[in-house]
Symmetry: C2
Subunit: 408 residues, 2 copies
């Protein structure tokens, strides 16, 4: 079959059932330390029989931009999704970026389905479903709303019964387990040509690599991946972003509340700080990440705001819109006048009173900055002709479909 | 008593026995996760009754420069020790920087001892003893050579018998335990006015924060710190540097061998790459850290070498001598023409054949870069008037001696 062209890249149709897995918040140390602890035999096997690479995710190192990059094979400048949340300047309001109307590029998933390939998508949280499933003729549902899946709108019905697990809580490791269990069920019963599984980082936000809870979660994923492997699937694994502690030696969050600090120094209303990590599910991180964008009110010089920001605690880097858009391949019309990154062990907030940290029952771990850009890029097959350039997590589809070694 | 002046800073004589502890390689997560696991009740108590701060160590984030900064209260530009190892351009040879003749500034320890205060120093490895004990009239010995301590040269004899532990192996957690056990013995029997304890990062090079082995090590230190606390000592704790994984998802080291790469691109002999992490004890890290310095042979343009370096994998930043010296407060005559920093998860080597990695029985963890600059700064007493500027690990003596809250 002729390769298809999507967003300027070429993809072979899957010759064997192919599963792409995005493990949310998968700092590489989670895999490494689970393997070291003997908890992840499938992962451990990849070095000898598969391919182990490291890639950079897209900035900001958040869930939505990276999931969309993975399924479009392109950076946010192409697909338009540059956060979970943004200021819709046309509407003049801050909105979730969950709606497919914000998506500016087709997905490889939909394009392959259009050629007749059987495609399935399972996400943990429903927030990603509309975006990942945009234009897709196939199966697409979330673990969160698994009970609501219907043949007409999700391409599948009776999901709970078919998976054989109860509907999971949105704040739990069960949500990700459900994604994998559904993936194994689909591979057994539907055998899709291409399947995309996307988990949630609930565990990674709470537990550091190598801790018993983290190792148990990776052991669980390892068992399901081993099942998919045994079912003959080509598997490509990457992550939307890494994860780091954002605390001091006693586990207290290290936060700069940028809106409070800017209002204090420049006067109220001169700037508007927006946190693109914001989504409906912020209990486990209090909407605190290491990336913020700042809109500057006309009349206030942008460079003056940048200078104030550069002098604030925990601020690692401040870029103007043009530089940030070029450097991080972001859509300039959907970011503020300034992009602000925090140091590895710190996060950025708006105003202290707008962040509810009561849900932080364990020390804050989060992401969003350059320090969470390195992610795993793993395959259960040898690859051929892997490009020598910097690899990205959104190369995973191209590598799995176009670079399988002829030996396999 | 009148405060003493050392390297431009003022220090009160200790009013109570004061212990300064440098925990080698103490990434803050080690403390946080040991506290979370319930393994470190002394550390856990500091938030309520003491003072918990975060500080930056000096660059390069290696042991010798930072230990010397802590005891002189000054950066390497003042004390001259900018690595474990350097190119002595007067002698034209690469040498260890263990000799006190390389030290350009007096220590606060020696200055306080000169006023009649009783001062004691215990280090894990002997490599630091000569530098830390320079000019010191008092007790100064290493756990490594505890059996060789004599009254005449170390200010104390019969150390093994007095401590009640056997001579520890240089590659073991026992080496650090011996430091603490000796500290408790000295506090019981000699009650020094000021004591400096410096451990080794053998455990941190091998085990990630929160793992059972790391928690056990912090539990051990916690018990000894609790004993010093119970003996009435003022305790200030910091670190020489943090620690990060330097591997991919399967624990393989991520290394750029700079000498090989530069020779390949520029021709043999145009540059000389030097790794200031090098010391006689490299089994656990193979002399691989995230900081290197490069000497450029006359006739080769330095900026051309810098450009080549900037294009190499894992290289985060390249600074010329002047910029590096200014930015990191380094002695310009003791660094190369260029300073090279690696990304957080990677290290820099010279030539592959010059690194023996056979001792790496577990995935590489190391330090040297900006990513290991954040360290804890903890006290078992409330402090008053803590400066609001960026704090450094070498503020620990000033804070412990000059900033005790009058309430204590």
């Amino acid at each position: 079959m002729k390769p298809i062209q999507v967003n300027g890249r070429s993809y072979q149709a899957p010759a064997q059932p192919t599963v792409i897995v995005c493990i949310d918040g998968c700092e590489q140390e989670y895999v490494n330390l689970a393997v070291q602890a003997g908890a992840a035999p499938f992962f451990a096997s990849l070095l000898a029989r598969g391919t182990v690479l490291t890639a950079d995710c897209v900035m900001p190192s958040f869930t939505n931009p990276n999931n969309l990059s993975i399924v479009t094979g392109a950076p946010p400048s192409v697909h338009g999704i540059c956060g979970n949340y943004f200021l819709d300047t046309e509407r003049g309001e801050e909105v979730l970026m969950n709606d497919a109307r914000y998506l500016r590029a087709p997905t490889v998933l939909a394009a392959l389905a259009d050629t007749g390939a059987k495609v399935a998508v399972v996400t943990a949280k429903d927030k990603l479903r509309a975006l990942l499933g945009h234009g897709l003729r196939g199966i697409c549902f979330s673990a969160e709303h698994a009970d609501q899946a219907s043949l007409q709108t999700h391409g599948i019905a009776d999901v709970l019964a078919r998976v054989g697990l109860p509907k999971p809580s949105v704040y739990s490791a069960d949500l990700s387990e459900f994604v994998f269990a559904a993936g194994v069920m689909l591979m057994r019963t539907e055998r899709p040509d291409l399947m995309y599984l996307s988990t949630t980082d609930y565990v990674q936000h709470k537990h550091a690599p190598g801790t018993p809870q983290a190792n148990a979660f990776y052991a669980l994923m390892d068992r399901y991946l081993g099942e998919l492997d045994a079912l003959g699937a080509v598997i490509g694994i990457t992550a939307d972003h890494g994860m780091n502690a954002k605390t001091d030696a006693m586990g207290r969050p290290q936060v700069s509340f940028l809106q409070d600090l800017l209002d204090d120094r420049l006067g109220d209303g001169r700037t508007r700080v927006l946190l693109p990590i914001t989504d409906p599910y912020v209990v486990h991180h209090g909407a605190l990440g290491s990336y913020a964008t700042v809109y500057v009110r006309p009349g206030t010089p942008v460079h003056a705001v940048a200078e104030v920001l550069r002098g604030l605690p925990h601020v690692e880097r401040v870029l103007d819109r043009e530089t940030a858009a070029a450097r991080f391949e972001l859509p300039p019309d959907r970011i503020g006048d300034l992009v602000v990154l925090a140091h590895r062990l710190a996060v950025l907030g708006t105003s202290a009173r707008r962040h509810d940290l009561s849900g932080l029952t364990v020390p804050l771990r989060s992401h969003g900055g350059l320090s969470e850009q390195a992610v795993p890029l793993l395959f259960n097959r040898p690859l051929a002709d892997v490009p020598t350039r910097r690899l990205r997590n959104f190369d995973v589809l191209s590598l799995a479909l176009n670079h399988l070694s002829p030996r396999t």
